[in-house]
């Protein structure tokens, strides 16, 4: 396990060093979604994607790779050959184009919802990853160092004051974790769901919600997406156990890099439980999206909230 941790840390740190993303992919993947949308690159408020949705297809390839070459084996190699990380990634992490298009579509759907609701915002083609994974895996010293030297200084040097988050991990880091370590960040952070007042009627009529543990049990936001679905005319089937606040189970995603087989098993059990309520599973988190869709086995359709609210799915 120690070798595994060391290896995982080497991979993440050398990648963060190289491109400010937790896995070694080209930075261009983060901003492809904005092409042709006419969103400015500077403004009073910025959308902070943390590149999390955009990385999902690469995380899926990476997890597959890890099952063949675990971090305990890969890490030392990465340590020695860190300058080759980028070329390695180009060769090894090649997700299908359809997956890349799908996640870019989700970010575009979120941006579209904001635009339709009259929200003015800019995007940051070179935004750094929030560092959430470092914190969540227990690499707290690395998180603090990375967050203050990269993320905080990025926002400060650009004078950014208003941030719109689109996923629970980044929202949790900016509103709870980082202020605990660094005090007031000088940022006003809102989640995109808080800015959406009106939505059109959705195409799907009945779904089951898979709650993000962070939105539901850390951030007190489990009603935000329920209300939005209701506004879009979508019935969400509830069950005291499967979707209850205390008992709804996690997707397994948080341990995909520590124990991939356990993570997959948790996801499959979750799919079993959800599929009894509806074949349409709505998620509001890129990690839930990644882990559940990878393990759905075609039994359910995993839809992101923004896809449902824009009628894209």
């Amino acid at each position: 396990m120690e070798d595994w941790l060391r290896g995982l840390r080497s991979i993440m740190l050398s990648s963060l060093n190289y491109n400010r993303l937790p896995i070694p992919v080209e930075r261009g993947v983060c901003s492809e979604w904005a092409r042709g949308m006419g969103i400015p690159e500077s403004g009073d408020a910025v959308i902070y994607t943390s590149c999390l949705y955009q990385l999902v297809p690469y995380i899926n390839s990476f997890t597959g790779l890890m099952e063949k070459a675990p971090p305990s084996a890969l890490g030392p190699l990465v340590n020695r050959l860190s300058h080759l990380v980028a070329s390695f990634a180009r060769v090894a992490l090649k997700p299908p184009r359809s997956e890349v298009d799908r996640v870019n579509g989700i970010v575009r759907a979120i941006a579209t919802l904001l635009i339709r609701n009259g929200v003015k915002f800019a995007y940051m083609p070179d935004e750094p990853y929030s560092g959430a994974l470092l914190y969540e895996l227990g690499f707290e010293d690395d998180f603090k160092e990375y967050f203050s030297s990269v993320v905080l200084s990025y926002f400060r040097s650009r004078g950014i004051k208003n941030v719109i988050t689109i996923d629970p991990h980044t929202h949790h880091i900016l509103t709870v974790v980082a202020p605990r370590f660094f005090g007031d960040l000088g940022l006003r952070v809102v989640n995109y769901m808080e800015l959406i007042k009106g939505v059109d009627k959705a195409k799907v009529s009945r779904v089951v919600i898979h709650d993000s543990c962070l939105y539901s049990r850390y951030l007190g936001m489990r009603n935000a997406y329920r209300v939005l679905l209701e506004k879009a005319g979508v019935e969400h089937v509830e069950d005291p156990y499967v979707t209850g606040v205390s008992t709804s189970m996690c997707c397994g995603g948080p341990v995909e890099s520590i124990n991939p087989s356990l993570s997959n098993k948790v996801a499959r059990l979750r799919i079993d439980a959800l599929s009894k309520l509806s074949n349409n599973v709505v998620v509001a988190c890129p990690i839930c999206y990644a882990n559940l869709s990878r393990n759905s086995g075609g039994r359910v359709k995993v839809l992101d909230l923004a896809e449902v609210l824009t009628g894209a799915q």
Partner: protein
């Protein structure tokens, strides 16, 4: 050294309040997946308590602690009100720091 730091965690979260009732195991996704106590909240917090007493942890148990999802389902049902997910997160951070030394 690590034992002393873990002792502080045991005190901070009053882990010995655990009554071994197992309510937490009934909602834990990793426990549901393996049915092994070390993959559940109760096993994880007792592991922290044992660590604080200087008892060695093997790699299987170590993996059990690190594979907590921090999903907080256990916190919601613990009649002793233990902040289980937070205690496990802090223990993870200590173990990780120690392992990387």
């Amino acid at each position: 050294m690590i034992n002393d730091q873990v002792k502080l965690l045991v005190e901070k979260y009053s882990l010995t309040r655990c009554a071994r009732c197992n309510f937490c195991e009934s909602v834990c996704p990793t426990y549901a997946a393996t049915r092994r106590r070390i993959h559940g909240p109760r096993g994880r917090i007792w592991l922290i308590i044992y660590l604080s007493q200087g008892i060695d942890v093997n790699s299987d148990e170590y993996d059990g602690l690190l594979s907590c999802l921090n999903c907080r389902a256990c916190n919601q049902v613990c009649p002793a009100g233990i902040e289980i997910a937070e205690a496990i997160h802090d223990a993870k951070a200590l173990l990780v720091r120690n392992a990387l030394k």
